[in-house]
Amino acid sequence: MPDLSVKIGSLEMKTPVMVASGTFGYGPEYAGLVDLNKLGAMVVKGIALHPTKGNATPRTVEVPSGLINAIGLPNPGVEGFVDRYMPFLRGYDVPVIVNIWGTSVEDYVEVARRLDGVDGVHALEVNVSCPNIKEGSGVFGTDLDGFRRVVDGVRRATQLPMIPKLAPNVADIKVFARAAEEAGADGISLINSYPALSVDVAKRRPRLANVTGGLTGPAIHSIAVKLVWEAAAAVSIPVVGIGGITNSEEALEFLVVGASAVAVGTASFTHPNTALDVTDGIAAYLEAHGFSSVGELVGSMERL
């Protein structure tokens, strides 16, 4: 059996396959269908300093090979999250990565500070790139100065492994990847959803209450692979590849271009067990191709 374990800073995962933030709730939602203990990590839905309600409905629309969402990061606030969900999550043998967001640098720092030392929280994913928040989050993902300030601030506020999640809609992903590494990130994850718009032409209205949203699913997979390839070449910290994975082959693409781990997102809605099927498929591939560990595969792509 090949070695599937992965390390991101001090975060140790049994497998390289996580479930992506926003697509798996806080854990209890899927616990009746999926064995959470078999996940590489559980990345919970974005947490802010205070509770928020999120956007009006409609919040999602299905488009060819994808989903556009503008949920707007409803969340119970950091204290609410710790009280309501951490006791449940501590009952599982799975690393918990808390996705954090804010509308100011101070908010991010305070959320990070409050999660530091919370029993059962293993790492922070810093959401600088959600496209559905009017102020703050989205701006930090595409403005290099804002991005640096958030990542710097969170770094100072926590001992936990820190993984900034990068926005795909930037001129040069390498610049943001390097900025994260320079600020002391333990890893980076990418991509977040891609800004998108769908219109009902019969009504000449947008299909989402928020007008625009973030596109996820198979439609963005090859875009994500290209960006992960560029980002992984630019940094020496581990990269988590995210975007449109529905099967192990698509996950393996991320590993081959340089990701150390992957996260399954929208596909969990289609088939809740996708992350576990992907894990089995990666193990079978490693075995079939004579790799003794997943690490040997990372960044192994050769030129034609």
Binding site: L33, T57, P58, R59, P64, S65, I71, P74, F269, P272
Partner: protein, 264 residues
């Protein structure tokens, strides 16, 4: 809640474009409570990332029956399902209808496929009552014989008058209410259908002091409470509102919980 690969037994056309799909779902069918739903991954729709939610019409032993109409991409594709095809099913999902309070007279109100969604409830009731069915035209009225066979009185309204009274289902309800005004026994209403119909029933329920359960139909994503697509505004304890998930806390709500002014 189970996640299983199920086999199509067969499907046939009912009328008015409605079809009845029979599935062999031994892990799910025995556990379906009235008002719950199942989430279908429609085969041959690789470009669609979402499952499609359906009310359960009948659940007998390991067999599920789903009544649907081919109106969208998913349901039109489902019309091609053949005996022996397999599909992935998650269910039963959601919080269904609560039991009738002792002493209350049950009243059912349905529009469109809502008639099918109320059948299991009608079958499980300790006493029979009256059912009001509404639709645009005669072919939209479903399952009348089945409800009558269970001992329910069925009253029908169609907008074109092709079956039952001409008008809206609420017109027929209003006529019945006037007719029974000397009968002081409390009624408990269970409704499933289009949002405008549910709202019209809810207005009457609040005026006339009916305890009323409505099954709402919202765009749905994951079906298990994770994605927060299917939320609607319900009253909270502080006099404001909060989002509740129709897939998890719902799809059934007491009509007074819903902020109808915000959920038109």
């Amino acid at each position: 809640m189970q996640y299983e690969s199920v086999k199509v037994i067969h499907q046939d056309e009912v009328h008015g474009g409605y079809r009845l799909l029979w599935l062999n779902a031994p892990g799910i069918a025995p556990h379906v409570e009235p008002g719950q739903f199942v989430h279908i991954r429609v085969p041959h729709m690789e470009a669609s990332v979402l499952r499609r939610p359906f009310s359960v019409y009948k659940a007998d032993g390991s067999v599920l029956q789903i009544l649907y109409k081919g109106v969208g991409k998913g349901t039109r594709t489902m019309t091609y399902l053949r005996p022996g095809d397999t599909l992935s099913l998650i269910g039963p999902l959601g919080t269904g209808f609560p039991a009738l309070s002792p002493g209350n007279a049950p009243v059912l109100v349905a529009g469109g496929y809502g008639m099918a969604a109320l059948y299991l409830l009608a079958r499980s009731m300790p006493v029979q009552g009256i059912a009001f069915f509404g639709g645009q035209t005669a072919p939209d009225i479903l399952c009348v014989d089945e409800f009558e066979a269970l001992g329910w009185e069925v009253r029908i309204a169609t907008e074109d008058g092709s079956l039952g009274e001409q008008g809206l289902v609420t017109d027929v309800i209003d006529a019945w209410w006037t007719e029974r005004k000397d009968d002081a026994s409390p009624v408990e209403v269970y409704a499933c259908g289009p949002n405008a119909m549910l709202h019209a029933v809810a207005r009457r329920a609040m005026d006339r002091d009916w305890r009323t359960w409505v099954s709402v139909d919202r765009n749905m994503g994951c079906g298990v409470g994770a994605c927060l697509t299917c939320v609607l505004r319900v009253r909270d304890e502080s006099g404001g509102w909060e989002w509740k998930r129709s897939c998890t806390e719902g799809p059934v709500f007491e009509c007074r919980e819903i902020c109808w002014d915000l959920e038109k």
